[in-house]
């Protein structure tokens, strides 16, 4: 996020794009509610009536998969009506003319048949966004998990450039990251193209610095993204280019990745699969070796939250069982492979990382301890450098010319759209009381009591009537890739023809249905759009039994002695 979470409540206008804070981050949503209480205008763009949409001044209930067209139309209106911040555009940006040329044809009237949003509402939203004293954009995975994702993100950033909404407090653009430490994994260089602090592996000076520090020659070839692994295993003919070993650490691709049938085949075909985790999970069923690690609560460290804040995690209890911390396990393997690693604690690792990463160098353990939270960049070790609440101060950007770059792209429809055979669209969303693949929250008593298998599919009342199903009925959902059983949740908050499922259920595992199509730049799968069909189940009693049996067989597979449980 270019700004900090606390700033959300002081923006004069919030433009919330495909972000459902109430379910994804209730404590961020709290700031949205507070902003509204403080008089901010709320514009929400979402195909569903989310909690934010419900209290919004304007709700652009667009059709799923039309983000780019809507954003271009908003840019079009801002330019056409002379609402752009000309001085900011001149002084701090580049590429305006090219941007203008592309959005020119996206008049609200042109966008309407694509987005299903009235031209008047698009104009009203564009005017409000451009005219507010400080406007802040918040977006979520509703933007990123499309095959056209990076384009849309850059399009949103262009709106902020166009209206001069960068460089000061309470403005800017905020991707609200989903997982607790997804920001941190990126910050630390768990990415195929960069080391810690986003230092490129193809930059010779950077690489030489790391080579010197680590004492080995390093590859200058950008690695492959996670989402390319299935292709590199199942379709790659050249043995040398194939993936033969997969070290999976704290993730469960056999639940979280799209098109699970393909993932299972991939895991089975790879010669050697290492899994390192705290719970047995679906990936474990395909692993050759399983390395048990300590959990949150059992080890020390630092997380990075969504607004670039480094914060400590601390060990509260002793772990049970014969487990080790993640960094110890990796160090032992490394040492056994002839590259010794002998860290004594997390602070020692952090200090090595800092010494190689200028933008994090000032964030010492002592300073994080003293301040509680430090937002990077933080370059100086002295207490004066308390980090950076918001980026691009004074309109300075990370590009070599210091200017923010405009970007527009033509709208492309989703890769798989509804057809007569698969007449409904499916988008994957979040369940407020569960997290990620549910190995943690699914093992929390109260959270599991609140919501448990097989989960729900949100459908419009009209579709429920058409299929003659009611709330709580089990229903069969299928796509070109797979099929599952889940429960019907009629809701007026979704449009007819569109359906939504939360992705952490194991029986109602919606990733059995989703497509593996990727954004060409970010390689993010299109989890937010695929075509499905629905089938009423007449024999509800045996479907209920099927769910019960499936749950028991999952538990047995996970190594639980089910005979002990009274359920």
């Amino acid at each position: 996020m270019s700004m900090g979470v606390p700033e959300i409540e002081d923006a004069k206008l919030l433009f919330i794009f495909g972000y459902n804070g109430a379910d994804a981050h209730p404590i961020v949503a709290r700031r949205i509610v507070k902003a509204k209480q403080k008089g901010a205008k709320l514009i929400v763009t979402d195909p569903r009536i989310t909690e934010s949409a419900r209290i919004a001044d304007m709700h652009l209930q667009l059709k799923g998969g039309s983000n780019m067209a809507l954003i271009n139309a908003i840019g079009n209106v801002i330019i056409a009506e002379g609402l752009a911040d000309k001085k900011f555009v001149e002084d701090h940006t580049s590429g305006y003319e090219e941007y203008k040329a592309i959005v020119e044809k996206y008049t609200p009237e042109y966008a309407e048949p694509i987005c299903h949003v009235s031209p008047d509402l698009i104009r009203e939203a564009a005017r409000a966004y451009a005219k507010a004293e400080t406007s802040m954009i918040l977006y979520g995975m509703g933007v990123c998990q499309f095959a056209q994702a990076v384009d849309v993100v850059k399009g949103l950033a262009s709106l902020a450039l166009l209206t001069g909404n960068f460089g000061g407090p309470n403005m800017g653009i905020g991707p609200v990251r989903g997982q607790n430490n997804v920001q941190g994994a990126c910050d630390m260089g768990a990415l195929p193209n960069c080391y810690s602090g986003y230092q490129s592996v193809t930059d010779d000076a950077v690489r030489e610095k790391f080579e010197k520090a680590w004492g080995v020659p390093l590859s200058n070839k950008v690695g492959i993204p996670l989402t390319h692994v299935p292709h590199r295993v199942l379709e790659e003919k050249d043995e040398a280019k194939k993936i033969h070993a997969y070290y999976i650490f704290g993730e469960d691709p056999a639940q979280s990745d799209p098109d699970l049938a393909e993932i299972r085949e991939t895991l089975d075909k790879i010669d050697f699969v290492i899994m390192q985790d705290i719970f047995m999970n679906k990936t474990g069923l395909h692993a050759d070796v399983i390395l048990p690690s300590t959990s949150w609560g059992e080890h020390d460290g630092i997380y990075s939250c969504c607004d670039r804040g480094f914060q400590r995690i601390r060990k509260a209890i002793e772990p049970k069982g014969d487990v080790k911390t993640d960094w110890e396990i990796i160090s032992l393997i490394s040492t056994a492979m002839g590259y010794p690693m002998n860290y004594k604690n997390t602070q020692e690792i952090w200090d090595e990382m800092r010494s190689l990463t200028p933008s994090f160098y000032g964030a010492t353990y002592e300073k994080i301890e003293a301040l509680g939270s430090i937002q990077w960049p933080c370059r100086d070790e002295s207490m004066e450098d308390k980090g950076t609440p918001y980026l691009h101060k004074g309109g300075k950007f990370a590009h070599p010319d210091g200017r923010g770059k405009f970007f527009a792209s033509e709208w492309r429809p989703p890769c798989e759209v509804e057809s007569s055979e698969y007449p409904y669209s499916l988008s994957t969303v979040r369940e407020v009381g569960h997290y990620s693949v549910r190995t943690m929250t699914g093992n929390c008593r109260a959270l599991a009591n609140l919501e448990d298998e097989p989960g729900w599919i949100q459908m419009s009342p009209a579709d429920c009537e058409k299929l003659n199903v009611k709330e709580g009925d089990l229903i069969r959902v299928y796509s070109r890739r797979g099929s599952l059983i889940t429960r019907v949740m009629p809701t007026e908050r979704v449009k007819a023809g569109a359906t939504y499922m939360t992705y952490q259920w194991w029986i109602g595992a919606c990733n059995e249905l989703t497509t593996p199509y990727l954004d060409p730049i970010s390689n993010t799968p299109e989890s937010k759009y695929c075509a499905i069909n629905l089938e009423k189940i007449d024999d509800q009693a045996s479907a209920e039994q099927f769910v019960k049996d499936s749950y028991e067989s999952i538990r047995t597979n996970m190594g639980i002695d089910t005979a002990k449980k009274g359920v």
Binding site: E51, I55, R445, A446, T491, G566
Partner: protein, 178 residues
């Protein structure tokens, strides 16, 4: 006057933290150490979502409670500004559940561990008791991350009525003629 918890739909984000807070207040923190199938999970409030509203619904603690009036065994009483179901006396007849115009009562397995004579579960009426006897007051209010819940007391009602009357007087004074 009886007190009650009122939700504000402008603040509620439907996260249901209040529902778990309710269970923990009544069953105790010990549930987090127990076998998952050995305790009961009976929130005394429920989040309702329509196209335009998100709000928890719970007992209004009526001044003339229909539930209390229809209870054939006197298992519902008013104690300290609160309408309370006495689980020991409740026979599970569901009359109160039918009588309540708010749908604030449901029937659940009694959490006190007491069984019927044939050792089967006792089913009793379940509803908000404003966490009576809890020092910090109703747990739902305490745990709500957006401060969407509020305990309404006599004083609040008086202020609210007074404000409404002032507003009414102003609007009436603006009606000319007639």
């Amino acid at each position: 006057m009886n007190y009650f918890v009122k939700g504000n739909p402008d603040l509620c984000i439907g996260c249901r933290t209040c529902m778990i807070g309710c269970v923990v207040a009544h069953e105790g923190e010990k549930i987090f150490q127990m076998n998952p199938w050995e305790y009961v999970f009976n929130p005394k409030l429920d989040i309702v979502k329509t196209a335009t509203i998100t709000i928890p619904v719970q007992c209004k603690h009526c001044e003339n409670p229909a539930c209390m009036n229809v209870c054939p065994v006197g298992a519902i009483e008013m104690i300290d500004n609160t309408v309370v179901v006495l689980h020991d006396k409740c026979i599970g007849c569901k009359t109160c559940m039918i009588a309540c115009p708010y749908g604030a009562i449901d029937m659940v397995v009694a959490s006190d561990g007491k069984k019927q004579l044939d050792n089967s579960d006792r089913i009793v009426a379940n509803k908000c008791d404003l966490c009576i006897g809890r020092e910090e007051g109703p747990a739902c209010i305490q745990v709500c991350p957006t401060a969407a819940l509020k305990l309404v007391t006599e004083e609040d009602v008086a202020v609210s009525v007074s404000n409404k009357r002032t507003a009414a007087a102003i609007s009436l004074s603006q009606v000319k003629g007639s």
